[in-house]
Symmetry: C2
């Protein structure tokens, strides 16, 4: 017969509650006690039954992660960080990757609710009222990663989009560019869309370069195809442009592909800077200069924050902005 | 108080067992009964408690997916398919993405065992004896995706690697290339490494082009950096080469990057064909001609196979090879 938690407690000469606390990563025991219990677990070959354990501490030791409408390249890096933190804290991760079907978000949230996950990480989409309602029903901590909510008070881990865009634009200005265009995301996206455009405009204004409408092309999304279609449009309405700030790496790489096709040399004839620092930004040619979001780190911090909130109900969640950097590669030319 | 499964059974005038079968997607009831039960669930606002349910049917309605040592770009596509099939069948997916740390595979397998997952999908790594042992202990169905085991009898969903490599090489030959090199994976990888090399050699032999050692550079992995480092080596030992078959898209795109740096024009001076058809193969410039593995489909089939095996213990698992295609883009030139 399989050994039980009782057997472990007996062998280690501690209470069942103590073994349970140790198994669940809760505080309240000495290092010495932990060592004894760990040794007892190893000796007996005890395998905690997660299902039964869920009924005892009313936790399932799982967290749910939702990535609606996110590029698979971005989500896999954030997920890497989330998993690392979750597993470290003794939690498993149920992933709902709604990338290809934003409309399924609600359905997946219901699924996580049914699974009684102990907490949810939600990435990169605005929080609709119906999502917030399910969060409330679920009554578990929620942490946003790479997004934020203006309406609902939820803690987040992200980069300051306005600042990132501002610095990217300033980077081009400092390299002598005066005619700078932008391939933007969506005007209806209050999280990553609008702030990146505002950052772009603010940097121009700061440097006495007036923003004119023709300098900006917006898109519904942030994908490669959007960038590919946007560059010819932007060049048509703003032919004197010498540099482009693209609101995502996929947009930037799409623009590079269009430039290749138009036989415009990057960076000799046109400089491009992206946003994200996905792995593809090193893999394209020339390698892309871009604003680096610390994606793995963001996932890790979100995972740490969520598991801490699950373990300590009284903990106050503190949103955090992580620092970004500009990774210099080979797509921006210094103007004379 | 929340309604229970009893309330649902009473309202629908059926047995609890019937409600349970319906909730768990098992057969054995009429469409009419299903409609009555579904209506009762909706009326009562019943939310099945997955934890308690796990204790009743001894299932957790979750499957575990392990991606050891796989590119995040490949795993995100396979995962998309797995999730689609799993959610369709009423299962959630716990993902262990050990991409960045192959050594964690065993630890994650133990975690899935502890979570009492109902089945496991295992991707792209050879099945070590210690993994097979845990599978046996877990006593749940296991399906391999994009891999296979020579030693352990486990069903798989994959593409025939030998055939894929054979056809890619033949594609180059049919376009007039006679001096063809290969950037291969690992000589120690019996699944994707060796068969792709064997397919390459067989195609050459078939077309009376003798294989010589200098035509092949092998690597430890299949990553961008490997490809980037391999191309100069291969050109050095085989300077007359006009075309390269790379055993993965990342290897191919790494080779393209090296070619750019060496000012070798692709495809004018050197043709390249890849393997996988990841999203990046469309995004690089020029877009990459490659062997397309139906990754989403492979994930979907594996998910369907696994959930079927979970639901019907008597079912015999049938491995399947999915068809590949060659996606023609712009990296292979026709020789005169």
């Amino acid at each position: 017969m399989n050994p039980t938690i009782k057997d472990v407690a007996k062998k280690a000469n501690v209470s069942i509650a103590t073994v349970s606390r140790i198994l669940n990563g809760l505080p309240g025991y000495s290092e010495d006690t932990k060592k004894k219990v760990t040794a007892a677990i190893a000796d007996l070959g005890y395998q905690p039954n997660a299902v039964a354990r869920g009924l005892i501490n009313r936790r399932t030791q799982t967290i749910g992660v939702l990535f609606p409408n996110v590029s698979g390249m971005l989500s896999s890096e954030v997920l890497e960080g989330v998993e690392r933190a979750a597993h470290e804290a003794g939690f498993s991760v149920i992933v709902c990757n709604t990338a290809s079907s934003g409309s399924r978000t609600l359905k997946y949230l219901r699924l996580l609710q049914e699974k009684r996950v102990d907490g949810v990480i939600f990435a990169s989409e605005d929080i609709k009222d119906e999502y917030a309602e399910i969060f409330k029903e679920m009554n578990v901590p929620v942490v946003l990663v790479s997004t934020a909510s203006q309406k609902h008070n939820l803690p987040f881990v992200r980069v300051n989009d306005f600042e990132g865009a501002y610095r990217a634009t300033e980077y081009l200005i400092h390299r002598g560019h005066r005619q700078i265009g932008m391939i933007g995301g969506s005007n209806y996206d209050p999280i990553a869309g609008v702030p990146r455009m505002e950052g772009f405009k603010a940097a121009l204004t700061k440097h006495s370069l007036p923003f004119i409408d023709k300098m900006l092309v917006t898109n519904e999304g942030y994908r490669f195809n959007d960038g590919q279609q946007s560059l010819p449009k932007l060049l048509h309405q703003f032919p004197e442009m010498t540099a482009v700030f693209a609101a995502s790496d996929e947009l930037a790489i799409g623009a590079m592909s269009a430039a290749h096709q138009l036989r415009i040399s990057v960076p000799d004839q046109l400089s491009i800077i992206g946003y994200d620092n996905l792995k593809i930004s090193e893999m394209c040619y020339p390698p892309l200069t871009t604003v680096s979001q610390p994606l793995v780190k963001m996932g890790e911090k979100a995972g740490e924050m969520l598991t801490a909130l699950i373990k300590e109900k009284e903990l106050e969640a503190k949103s955090m902005y992580l620092p970004f950097t500009i990774v210099e590669r080979q797509t921006v030319k210094r103007m004379k």
